[in-house]
Symmetry: C2
Subunit: 247 residues, 2 copies
Amino acid sequence: MIKIESSRNKIIKEIVSLKQKKYREQKKLFIVEGERLLSEADPLYVLIREGYDGDTERFSNVYTAPAGVFDKAADTISPQGIIGVCKIPETYLSALPKEPFVVILDRVSDPGNLGTVIRTADAAGADAVVLSEGCADPYNPKTIRSTMGSIFHLPVYRNINIAEFLKNSNIKTFAAHLKGKKSCFKTDMTGGTGIIIGNEANGICDDIAALATELVKIPMPGKAESLNASAAAAIMIYEAVRQRTEM
Amino acid sequence: MIKIESSRNKIIKEIVSLKQKKYREQKKLFIVEGERLLSEADPLYVLIREGYDGDTERFSNVYTAPAGVFDKAADTISPQGIIGVCKIPETYLSALPKEPFVVILDRVSDPGNLGTVIRTADAAGADAVVLSEGCADPYNPKTIRSTMGSIFHLPVYRNINIAEFLKNSNIKTFAAHLKGKKSCFKTDMTGGTGIIIGNEANGICDDIAALATELVKIPMPGKAESLNASAAAAIMIYEAVRQRTEM
């Protein structure tokens, strides 16, 4: 256990820097806060607040800092008083199974929505989440929190050229689209399947929509004009679960 | 158009006070920000930022304030520069249809989740959203934003004693519960139906779970232990839509 006294210490500075995407990309590191999330992670080191009473035995590098210094490093007011720094895993599309079940996001920009979709995809047993350029960063602390640990359960591919991905894959892909004619409940989502969800305000890019096997609509018998992106994703992903497990 | 010069003006003070639930309850008023949301609202008055170029003709009471004063009143940095103050509508459970389709929330505490569920319920054509005590306030500015206007489309009943509501209603109710045995996809959600979703961390109260017609599970073939409350709601609500529209 190494004691840190000052917020000018390089460990504190590193953790603070990792709140910014630029430094996360540069260092290939991200922050995981709280005991529960860290229980699934394999951090390079952890920083604890003085007086933290959780178990730190399994961590190989433990730094401790007084509350004032710790709280500067933390992204939230973390009553648990533990932060870990983890490596961003390398991911290879070639590792996907032959007929995967994947969730594809086109410029979904809200970190909370992104985290929720990753969590839903994980619950559904999806093989991966594939993110276009312009999506929120899955390693943003807010995204990490809303994945509730799912970020550690399935590969999340970042900065993928979705058009290329669709051209090179042999899965059926269903894009939730306001111009979709067929209901998402009339699709066949068994076998290799990709569900495509677009940006919160603008939906799916035209070039991606053109490459999808089918544009589908989520029926909206009520008055709302659209659904939240993570709600739309949950509906489509779970229609696939229903078809794969209940029929 | 009445010009406001100072942030000590009583209109500015009223708007600022309405960010707090206490004053919303006292005055039975809430804030609606932005042109799009306001297009569906019927505000008592609106406040615009000097230089706002949208149409304000349809509003009967328009106040204008310089940017510095306006921005103090706004809850977000509102590039649109318009805020309205609206009456919280009175709602009566007796106005529900005889066999309603309702979404019942037990202590869902995140304003964003609550707004998303209201939006999903609206899209699905639900008759109402019924909130227990301890839910987030639907008139919280963050909730209003995430409803994307749906708050104006269907009644949202607040501070309802859910146990009493369930005893007095003659609808089938399905509670998403980790102890549920039957899959939500094996239910019959046609006819009078209530979908019950619980608190983000603690799920549904035991007394409410005991009164539900059935505890159901949302299948989770993957590794996540649970779903986000608004994702779980979307899955259950849309299973009802599927059964009601596609079969």
